[in-house]
Symmetry: C2
Subunit: 435 residues, 2 copies
């Protein structure tokens, strides 16, 4: 057999496909892809350039964050415990108006560093100067599904300009960083873009064969304002203009009627459940069981680090299941294996990467994390799924592999100078506040 | 000036009393107590046996976990995503019936190790063989407020026996481990003890001058069953037998009427808000703002590690504020400084230790933690309170001092052999399942 690039052996593997967990397993990669997953005993003929003894560790697919705005690390802690509207109008928007392209790069690098340290290997981002997020993805070694945001907000010329920028980003950076970057168009929301612009975006999406990333039914307040203007619900309105004929990644999905959910199901819209930011902003909770019962594919997201305030998908997995149990007053809702699927396979599918990542199986790209359970809060290890969801933290991730490349080993990030990234972000953030 | 025992300098201090945070601060301890808190510049004459350069770190009081059952670490992950009744009857109670005194010690040691690593310095526990928890507290160096549980459950003789054990524990271990152990009586709940037994407990509590630790209004189901038997609510019933005339630490406090809350306020009952376990078991959420608006003192608890599944008070602080914002659909509810008070000063008061611990001020016992914010998820550090609550994890705690003794330094626990404690707990847990 040809020599593999990396062989990881001795670990318990959660493949996150239809197969059960594998004890004393082995994983091998070659040319950025997984070429073997199985029992260690069956891998004894595999030789590799790099061999990792992962005895007592847990291997699973890298976590997938389906909705964030990573450059907002710069705003972490700047405005707290405020309503969405106040938060945006009084703090975030005035600061964003001062943001330079270089700042976005610095903030995105800090976000990428944080994600690597927490075992996230792929994220869907929507922001401005998104080309800089692409550069941070390239530099950090992560995988990103990137969209330049489009907010028309009553200004037609601005809408057109942002649409063009979004198209440019989608075209230029599709396949960037050795294919680790894919792109989407980024209409901010149904209420912040006109029907005409949304129709144009949908047509462009079909033409370019890229999907869209949009905020949907996040806030009751916004929803009400929207209803006044357009009568139907956000979802009904978008359906009417045939917006859901493209691949849609719809973040939040809180304020939905039964009919809305039926439409999302029928049209194959991908919902992103964002429990932490939704709770923090006091906007409510998505009814995830209702959505999944209708067959809607649901991924998980953290939202931007200024409204969370981390990019930690382990924390998000735990809070995701806790919140659903509370919403339905039923501890059986969203059991641990389901929330793990949301953070891996279902997330991959939501990003249009279902065939590429999300599970550990031969042929998929090698996005793998190793968790070290030799910590008091992970002992005893009776139920690995439960331990990963309810007990593990991002800091328990030991090794991160993205696209067959070791990005973190023994918690040391290999692609970035951790200290320099943190210092530069702090400096940039203070500079931004002083502008 | 006499030589201090420990001098910590250069850190930002969150004293958690009425004073603001101190930048470039210093803390000194002598004979287990704090003898200086202030600006570093004012501490330049202090010499100490041990001097800790804590530049760029954050010093705050050790976190206080007001409700747990630490030996249940042994059951972590054994039964997941089940309703409270099923969980107790089908898994927990049969296992607890097989528990030996030694098992409790092993489980409690693991719990103490986990708490030290997460920056918790004091916890209120209720379990069986609680003398073994006292031994684990002694060994680990933590501070504990311990109660032997009393569950009569229709069996009078059993009730009497357990009451006697609870009294014995309270008498024998009061002031144990150099005063780090204090005791309470542990009636499990109003529905699991008869009015006669509860009255006896209350009288004993007055006689011995110890408080009680009880589960109160946790589950609507239990509440309904109770209502049928006794007519009034749990709170009204307990008030009627004058149960609240003693110091009461009441965990959960979810299913409360407006009148119940008035009673808790009037009688000075201390409530413990337990957000994670309450969500996980799908029982509901305490209305903390209603309670605090009435002047009820509220502490924070994790509950046992089998229904959480950690003992991490940082995680509990974050989820505590997220959940209240959701309950009231208002992001301003339970702002970061208030949740920090619950986990420190208010927790201390709830445990009857308000004059001893809970804040960093001269004369109080030296229970201090240092947080290392040189991590990507804690950058930039615009708002230290928000960073501690929303971004920090237990693993960001660097140093833990309890009763003037350094229990953890640079994340290395000095009082316990970490590896040995974990291995012994795993072995005991497997042995228990095989019995």
């Amino acid at each position: 057999m040809e020599k593999a690039d990396i062989l990881i052996y001795g670990c318990t593997i959660l493949p996150m496909n239809e197969k059960c967990l594998i004890q004393d397993g082995a994983l091998a990669t070659k040319n950025r892809r997984i070429i073997f997953v199985g029992k260690r005993a069956s891998a004894n003929k595999i030789k590799a350039e790099i061999e990792i003894n992962a005895k007592k560790k847990i291997a699973m697919p890298g976590l997938i964050n389906c909705h964030t705005h990573v450059p907002m690390t710069l705003f972490r802690g700047i405005a707290e415990d405020q309503p969405l509207g106040t938060w945006l109008k009084e703090t975030i928007w005035p600061l964003e108006a001062k943001l330079k392209s270089e700042d976005v790069y610095v903030g995105a690098l800090l976000g990428c560093l944080e994600m690597i340290k927490n075992g996230t290997t792929c994220f869907a981002d929507m922001y401005f100067h998104e080309d800089m997020v692409a550069k941070a993805v390239e530099k950090s070694g992560l995988r990103g599904v990137l969209a330049e945001g489009i907010i028309e907000a009553g200004n037609k010329a601005r809408g057109e300009k942002m649409l063009n920028e979004s198209i440019n980003l989608a075209k230029k950076f599709r396949g960037y960083a050795n294919g680790r970057v894919t792109t989407l168009l980024g209409p901010h929301a149904a209420y912040s873009c006109s029907p005409e612009l949304l129709t144009k975006i949908k047509n462009k999406s079909l033409e370019l064969n890229v999907g869209v990333h949009i905020h949907l039914a996040e806030s009751k307040e916004m929803f009400r304002k929207f209803e006044k203007r357009y009568r139907p619900t956000e979802v009904e309105f978008l359906d009417k203009i045939d917006f859901f004929s493209v691949h849609v990644l719809a973040a939040h999905c809180i304020s939905l009627s039964g009919e809305d959910m039926q439409i999302l199901s029928k049209r194959g819209v991908n919902a992103v459940y964002v429990p932490v930011a939704n709770m923090k902003l006091g906007v409510g909770a998505a009814k995830v069981k209702d959505l999944t019962d209708l067959g809607v594919n649901v991924g998980l997201g953290t939202d931007g680090p200024a409204s969370n305030n981390t990019l930690d998908m382990f924390e998000t997995m735990k809070i995701a299941t806790l919140l659903q149990k509370l919403v339905y007053l039923n501890p059986k809702i969203l059991p641990v294996h389901e929330v793990l699927r949301m953070a891996t396979v279902n997330g991959a599918k939501a990003l249009g990467l279902g065939k590429t990542i999300g599970s550990l199986e031969v042929g998929k790209k090698a996005d793998i994390i190793l968790i070290d359970p030799s910590k008091p809060h992970l002992k005893p290890l009776h139920n690995i799924y439960a331990s990963v969801v309810y007990s593990a933290h991002g800091s328990d991730v030991d090794t991160v592999i993205v696209d067959g490349n070791i990005v973190m080993e023994n918690r040391k990030v290999k692609t970035l100078d951790e200290q320099a990234v943190m210092e530069r972000a702090e400096k940039t953030s203070l500079d931004l506040l002083a502008r």
